[in-house]
Each structure stands twice: as structure tokens, then as C-alpha cells.
């Protein structure tokens, strides 16, 4: 497919996270990439699950010779040098395989370097597959994305981890914003008297900051409102499960004051497991499965919501 692409455009970054392992982040991320590539978008899958990298297997290629590891160990080179083709047109992969134990936690500077380089990749969309947990590595990639996507499954454990993840992401950004506006002392003053000040939730904390320091507060409120995570409810088994997504989205608005739009629900589909066993993306081998259709719908809503997308 012919691409008319002005060079100076940065790629859009979509990051798939959500706290808990085994909720389908990698499967969703891979299939989003494949589906986007099929639509003619140039995509790079980045396996940011250092220490648990397996995206190469999902697209059916052997462990790549080049991976993020080279960047960490040699402390040189470019992110674009370690991308490998996937055999699927328009789709390449930056693997996280071979990661040694200690580089699962890259140094802050190195991480910032990688985030900067992500934006220089010559591609339309970069898809980040994040690892489980809420470590700073994961959070910083999530917060750097244009489309931070959280995946939950309808189980108490997954929902709990997702909230933990969202809270951690929220506070990481809030802390940064407060430091930048230099009103840390005002926040410290609230300690121990949150109840008296009527601050029960992050949203109320921000409202309070706007009251006592209108200028800095407004900047912070704006920064926090710009955090617009998206939500996917995966492995649903009953129609009611999708309501969980709507409820979580409402609760997030109440609690964080953050709009977390629900991208959609994905029904539990055995075809997905079969496809992984075949080492092929489900969207390729089972393009009519409920999973594939759900992925297409999710892409549609991400692309239409986002008018300033790389294709304009």
C-alpha cells in the first residue's frame, strides 16, 4: 500500500498495560499491531516486557538476534537498529528477549533515552507491550504513550491490580506536576488533615490545590485531565461483564477525575489459545473469530477518536 507520509511526523505510541499478568496484554498488543499493519499502517511492536519477552513467538518468528538488550549492554546504538521484520508486511518488532536479570530494571536515564527514541522511529504507530506490575519502568512507558490502554479481566484480582496500576500511574504524573509547579509544600501541609479538608480522593486533592493555588493548580489539573487512559475488558464470559468496564470508567471519573473511556469488551475465545499454539496471530488465522472482530472494533474506535492520528 502506498504511503504518503510527511517525514517530520512523530509516530503515535499505543501502550498496553494493566497491572496483572495473564490478562491478555501481549495477545491484544500483537493483534492490534497485525490488524493495523493490514490496514496499511506501518507499525512497530515493542516488547517492553523485559524479562518476559515473547512477542516474537506470537508473530511466529524465532528469537531475534537483535533486541533491546543490545541497547542496554553496549550503551550505544539506536532503537531503530534493533528492529527486525516479522514476515508480516508493514509490521516489525523490537524484541525484549535475551534480557538479563538486571536490565529488567533499566536506569532512569536509559529509560528516558528509549522513550525519546521511540518518538524518532520511522513508522506510523508504535505498540508497546508492557509487563505486569506497577514499577516505574512500566508506568513511565504507559504515561509516555498517546494511547495508554489498560486491560482487565472480570476477576477481583485483575480489577484490584488494575486500580493499583492506575493509581500508581496517576500519582507518578501528579508528583511530577506538583514538583514542576513547585507547590510541594502546599501538598505536604494537607498531610494528616485530609479528612478535615474534605480530601478523600485524588480528584478532591486536585480541586483543593486549584482553590489554594489557582495558577499552579490549574496547570496541574490540566496535566492530570490530559491523562486519558483507555480500558479493555478482556475474556468476558457474560454480557454483564462488559458493565464492569462502564462502572470502572465511572468510578475513575469520580475518584481520579480522569476520563477512562471503555474501548470495548473481548469475549473469551478458544481460538486465541489455538492461534498462540500455532504461533500465529489470531487475527490472521481466525479473521472471523469474535476476538478478531473485537480487535477491529477497538482499532476503529482508537483511530476515529483520535483525529490528530499520524494519518491525519
Amino acid at each position: 500500500m502506498e504511503q504518503v507520509q510527511p517525514k517530520q511526523l512523530k509516530p503515535r505510541i499505543w501502550a498496553v498495560g494493566g497491572g496483572k499478568g495473564g490478562v491478555g496484554k501481549s495477545v491484544i498488543c500483537t493483534n492490534l499491531g497485525v490488524a493495523l499493519a493490514k490496514r496499511g499502517y506501518r507499525c512497530i511492536l515493542v516488547d517492553a516486557d523485559l524479562g518476559g519477552a515473547n512477542l516474537h513467538t506470537m508473530v511466529g518468528i524465532p528469537t531475534p538476534a537483535k533486541s533491546l538488550t543490545e541497547l542496554f549492554t553496549k550503551d550505544a546504538g539506536n532503537l531503530s537498529d534493533v528492529q527486525v521484520p516479522t514476515g508480516i508486511h508493514n509490521l516489525s518488532l523490537i524484541s525484549g528477549a535475551h534480557a538479563l536479570l538486571d536490565i529488567a530494571n533499566p536506569k532512569h536515564q536509559l529509560k528516558q533515552k528509549i522513550i525519546r527514541q521511540l518518538l524518532t522511529l520511522d513508522t506510523d504507530i508504535v505498540l508497546l507491550d508492557l509487563s505486569a506490575g506497577s514499577s516505574f519502568n512500566v508506568l513511565d512507558f504507559f504515561l509516555a504513550a498517546n494511547e495508554p490502554i489498560a486491560v482487565v479481566v472480570p476477576t477481583p484480582t485483575s480489577v484490584e491490580n488494575a486500580y493499583h496500576f492506575l493509581k500508581a500511574a496517576f500519582y507518578r504524573r501528579l508528583k511530577g506536576a506538583i514538583a514542576q509547579e513547585e507547590i510541594g509544600h502546599l501538598v505536604d501541609q494537607t498531610k494528616g488533615q485530609k479528612g478535615a479538608l474534605g480530601i478523600r480522593t485524588p480528584r478532591e486533592l486536585i480541586r483543593y490545590l486549584v482553590e489554594i493555588s489557582p495558577e499552579a493548580g490549574a496547570v496541574i489539573a490540566e496535566k492530570m485531565a490530559a491523562l486519558r487512559p483507555k480500558l479493555i475488558v478482556n475474556q468476558i464470559r457474560r454480557k454483564e461483564d462488559i458493565a464492569l468496564g462502564i462502572k470502572m470508567s465511572n468510578a475513575c471519573r469520580d475518584y481520579f477525575g480522569v476520563e477512562m473511556n471503555l474501548l470495548g469488551g473481548i469475549y473469551n475465545d478458544d481460538k486465541v489459545v489455538l492461534s498462540i499454539q500455532m504461533k500465529k496471530p489470531a487475527i490472521e488465522v481466525y479473521p472471523h473469530s469474535s476476538f478478531a472482530i473485537a480487535i477491529e472494533n477497538i482499532i476503529q474506535s482508537l483511530l476515529t477518536n483520535n483525529k490528530e492520528g499520524s494519518r491525519g
Binding site: P156, V159, R200, L244, K247, M248, N250, A251, D254
Partner: protein, 167 residues
Amino acid sequence: MADPYETLGLKHGVSMLKVEQAYKDLKELYSEDSLATYSLLDPDQRRKLLDSLDQAFSQIVALNKTTTAIPRVNVESNSEDSPIPDPEQHPGAYLRWCRQRAALSLKDLSKMTKLSSTRLEDIELERFDSLPAPVFVRGYIAEYVRYLNIDKSRQLIESYIKRIPKK
């Protein structure tokens, strides 16, 4: 003090029906066994939040009682403090009570349900002779349930149908 409408996530001037719906939804969202929120809030936060919902709701109810004298179409003189009719014994009266609780006249509900005011009144007064076959009546009551936000709808429908004399 927080704006009670804002607490319920509503704009000012919305109908009591909307208020009730929002209140009910939020109570459910923040109930202790709600999968969507139990791990978001600690027990203390949850309790305070639920309290604030209750407070906001009763504030709005009080506001509506004093400021907006919504004309109530009362065929019988039904005072505001009249006891809640038993939905099992008097399902028709209960439907009427639900409608009045939502501050809706027969005409209002007629517009919403596309059922005539006469038909609605027949249902509420249990004028079985004027009503069509039970299968239709089920549908009518389902409309009440839909617009008036009524709990235990199935039971209510069954109680009503049971009261229709067999021909």
C-alpha cells in the same frame, strides 16, 4: 458544602427520575460487593462516599419538595405521606405511587410510554374490564417498570397478572 447534584454527577434541573436513577446506580457502584470499586476505595473512603450520596439525594428530594410544586394529577386525594401500597396486594396502587414518587402526571408518563392516559389510569386503578388480554398488560407494566425505575419488576408483574380475574 458540595453541590448535591454534582455529587450525583448530574446537571441542575434534571428530572427526579434521573436523580433517582443516578442515586441508585451510584449506590450500586460503591456498594461493598461491587467488583468495579471494592479494590479502589478503602472501607473508610467507601463509607464516607456512600454517606455523601445519601446526603446529596435527600438534599435534592428536600429541594424539590419545597421549590418545585409539580402539579400532581391526583384522581383520588392521595396525600404525600400516604403509606406505600403493598406491591403484592395492590400492584396497581403501587404503580401509581411509583409514578407520583417520580413526580410524573399521567400525561407525563403517557408521553413517555406512548400509552394513553386512560389506559394508564385503568392499569393503576386495576380496571380489569377495560384492560386487554394479560399478555398486553404485561407489556404495559413493563413500561412502568422501565420508566419509573422499579425494583423486583418480575414479581410485580406476576402479582398484577394474578389479580386479573380469569374469564
